[in-house]
Amino acid sequence: MGLATTNKVTISVNGDSMEVPSGTTVATLLQLLHVEPEQIAVELDGNVAQRERWCDISIAPRATLEIVRFVGGG
């Protein structure tokens, strides 16, 4: 008793499985991964998530995310 347990959920990010706290939003995940938000697009379960909604979308268990970073070199 008194021990807070954080529920974890397993998700897939660019094909790698990882555990995040339940209720993690897309925005929080990007912070966890140290990804600079303006350089990326995020696909969640087959659809690109609009960046204005990253703070609101909680990532469900077994969700599949793809993070696409865009780069300038050529």
């Binding site: 660019n14 094909g15 600079e36 303006e38 350089q39 697009a41 696909e43 087959g46 659809n47 690109v48 609009q50 793809e66 696409v68 970073r69 865009f70 780069v71 300038g72 070199g73 050529g74």
Partner: protein, 338 residues
């Protein structure tokens, strides 16, 4: 099509996806390649060999020895003569196919010349090394309804995406603003030579399908050659509130977001500001292996003979050793990113 061309392109004509009609479309197409570096020089060679003889090759830079590691068309003689890339590329293309109609344009693509340079092209391929030009291309392509194919590559990671105005989302739907601050570039972070040819191959593949009239799936493809492999996501729908393709506001084409450049003093150019504050300590770390760097918290000076760049905390820069705005932009894109 004459007998010689039937023979030259026989392996493509036999491929059912292209066939005789596709080959004729390729021969009839006119395609612009913006930037003839690692991506662009590969695209030019591949498209010409596929039958696209009418290529517009745009580049503001000249060939250097350190380009030869990944810029397939060029050789030591080009580097020794410091030949402009667009012209060097056109010369090599003529050796590949004596009927090449490649048109070299040695210029920095800007709002003032883009309409003339890209007039009458069916498709634009991105071989640039900076975001500013890509947003300009996106504005132009959406305004005129011309498809373009984005490609970017640094280190071992790259991205390619086809944009067809009216059919797919545009670049600004996905990325409304270019990234701020210091960006990794091929000069600072390096690049694997088969990465750029892989990304350029994806771009050319999309180009061939589009020119042959095949509707390809709207997707974004990424490659990490040193871990991660090739991945693909579906492009989202175009955004109704996208400033460029939704609201049709072409601020970059109109030059309103153009980074102002001015001559300052003798033999120096000032780039007033790019995408906001620059982390000078981080930039110093990136530039130290590349040459002499002196920095304090307010400014950083980097020596890249015969030029000297002074970059200020707010993103402004002074490039000494030239009065050419194109060279100044090019150095900024190479060493600071944009």
């Amino acid at each position: 099509m004459n007998e010689r061309d039937r023979d030259r392109y026989s392996r493509q004509i036999r491929f059912s996806g292209i066939g005789l009609s596709g080959q004729q479309r390729l021969i009839g197409a006119r395609v612009a390649i913006i930037g003839c570096g690692a991506l662009g020089s590969f695209q030019a060679g591949a498209l010409l060999r596929a039958g696209v003889r009418r290529l517009v090759l745009v580049d503001r830079d000249y060939v250097e020895l350190n380009n030869l590691q990944r810029q397939w068309l060029y050789d030591e003689e080009d580097a020794e003569c410091a030949r402009p890339k667009a012209e060097a590329a056109a010369r090599h293309l003529l050796r590949i196919d004596g009927e090449s109609k490649a048109e070299p344009v040695v210029a920095d693509l800007d709002p003032g010349n883009i309409g003339e340079i890209l007039d009458g092209v069916d498709l634009v391929l991105d071989g640039t090394d900076n975001f500013e030009t890509r947003y300009l291309i996106n504005d132009f392509a959406v305004q005129r309804g011309i498809p373009w194919i984005y490609g970017g590559a640094v280190g071992s990671y790259g991205v390619a995406m086809l944009i067809v105005p009216g059919s797919t989302c545009c670049f600004a739907c996905l990325y409304p603003q270019p990234p701020a601050g210091v960006q990794p570039t091929c000069e600072t972070a390096g690049v694997v030579n088969v990465l750029t040819s892989s990304i350029a191959s994806l771009q050319v593949n999309a180009a061939l399908q589009l020119l042959c009239g095949r509707l390809c799936e709207a997707c974004i493809t990424t490659i990490d050659l040193w871990g991660g492999g090739m991945r693909q996501i579906r492009q989202p729908a175009a955004r109704a509130d996208c400033e460029v393709c939704g609201l049709r506001r072409f601020s970059r084409l109109e030059g309103r977001r153009r980074v102002p450049i001015s001559l300052c003093g003798r033999n120096a150019v000032q780039i007033h500001s790019l995408s906001g504050p620059v982390d000078l300590l981080r930039l110093k770390k990136q530039l130290l292996p590349l040459g002499e760097v002196r920095a304090n918290e307010l400014a950083l000076r980097f020596f890249v003979p015969p030029y000297e760049m002074t970059i200020f905390h707010d993103g402004r820069a002074i490039v000494k050793g030239t009065t050419d705005a194109g060279i100044a932009r090019s150095l900024y894109a190479q060493y600071v990113g944009s």
